[in-house]
């Protein structure tokens, strides 16, 4: 790997990290000012889904760590729970991806919806296993709304992620490389 490839790869990671911070800040602060406590789309989950589909397992795992570290300061959730939830989601995406896969944005929409819905259940389970004061209930309606909103916002987000990948000349794994658009 030469210096240019390395710097492009680093730029790709840096841009996605920046995107996570910008989106999470928007979701926790600006959204609250504009929409109050109305459920917000879960942007960071869409990035996790994108990376888990269009990256190698090693890179996806690195991103799962990176996302956990980046979004933890925006929540009171313990880091261990967040990390475990993200790893479980990462494995779940890989499990689904190896069984069902089609090209294009609709596959990402499909996965984003189910991953957003799976999040509260995995969080509930992890909280029960890892935390001394576990969750008492799942806000299912709230999470369903979040899943719908995130899924609806997936197409523009997908093209943004693809744009970043193209800009940084990121190569996708073979099964996901062809005809993303």
């Amino acid at each position: 790997m030469n210096a240019k490839t390395l710097s492009l790869a680093f730029l790709n990671y840096a841009l996605f990290a920046l995107l996570i911070l910008v989106f999470t800040g928007f979701q926790t602060s600006l959204w609250m000012y504009v929409m109050g406590y109305f459920p917000s789309p879960q942007f960071w989950l869409s990035i996790l889904v994108f990376w888990s589909i269009y990256r190698s397992p090693k890179e996806s795992l690195i991103m799962a760590y990176l996302i956990s570290l980046l979004v933890a300061p925006f929540s009171a959730i313990p880091l261990k729970t967040l990390l475990m939830v993200h790893f479980c989601l990462f494995f779940l995406i890989f499990f689904i991806r190896h069984r069902i896969y089609w090209e294009g944005v609709t596959f990402m929409m499909f996965l984003t919806f189910w991953i957003c819905l799976a999040f509260p259940f995995i969080h509930f389970l992890m909280s029960f296993i890892l935390e001394p004061s576990p969750l008492h209930k799942i806000e299912f309606f709230d999470w369903t709304l979040r899943a719908i909103l995130t899924t609806l916002l997936t197409p523009p987000l997908f093209y943004l992620y693809v744009f970043i990948d193209r800009m940084t000349k990121k190569r996708w794994p073979t099964e996901a490389r062809s005809q993303a658009l």
Binding site: T28, M32, I77
Partner: protein, 280 residues
Amino acid sequence: MSFFALDMKKLIIGLLIVTFTIIALNTEFSPSRAPFFLKPFAYLAQSIQNAYAHLSSGVEGTFKLYFDLIDIKKQNRQLLKENASLKAQLGALTELQLENQRLNRLLQFQQRSSMQLLAAKVIGRDLIPDHQSITINRGSKDGIKVNMGVITEGGIVGYILRVNNKTATVLLLTDRYSAIDAIVQRSRARGIVRGFTSDTCLLDFLQRSDDVVNGDLIVSSGFDQAFPKGFPIGTVFKVKKSRYGASQEVYLHPIINPFTLEEVFIILNPQQKVAKKDER
């Protein structure tokens, strides 16, 4: 034929000429009165004129209406714009008025309280809805430390969980990780208030024999060094005693609705009394 011999034909012609002349002269002398023989013509003329007048006024009316409509449309658009702008201004003014009232209340509370309070603005909420925390615009550079109590003029909000340089995370009392030492105001029974769901808390470690009923006010005990003694936390809405347990489950609604918070106070010295006014 002599001069006086009458020729009837000539006589009639002569009479007619004289009559018409007299009538004409008469008409000339009183122009305001229309001659009787002109009346039918005048009637016809006025009818036609009226008809034209109606028609022209109708046409004029239609044209005027058309041009008015264009004007009205323009005016309507302009008025709609003005209305929207005024509405926006009114909304902004109402918002300012409400903010002013709120800040006034907070200022009055700060002034009458002997606690050293630091006002802060809520700038964010928790990323994950299963956790109850807010972010405020004060941090370690303002003297904020972990575990400091956070209140509003109505009651307890929570306490500082994490501190950054310019911001801090407040763990709301409804979060399942929060724990505040509390007492039942009426009976002085002591327990720990923990978060349960997003709008309810649980008063733990109360003994079965402790006196607590629905509607009781739960206040801070002051033992946790974060809040002053006697500051409101919530009101009891459900008391559950199992048949064999040594304790009882007490559920309460927090006094403060964490979803409507905009400004809060951080208590810098919790060991002071709540209000100067009470001392007087």
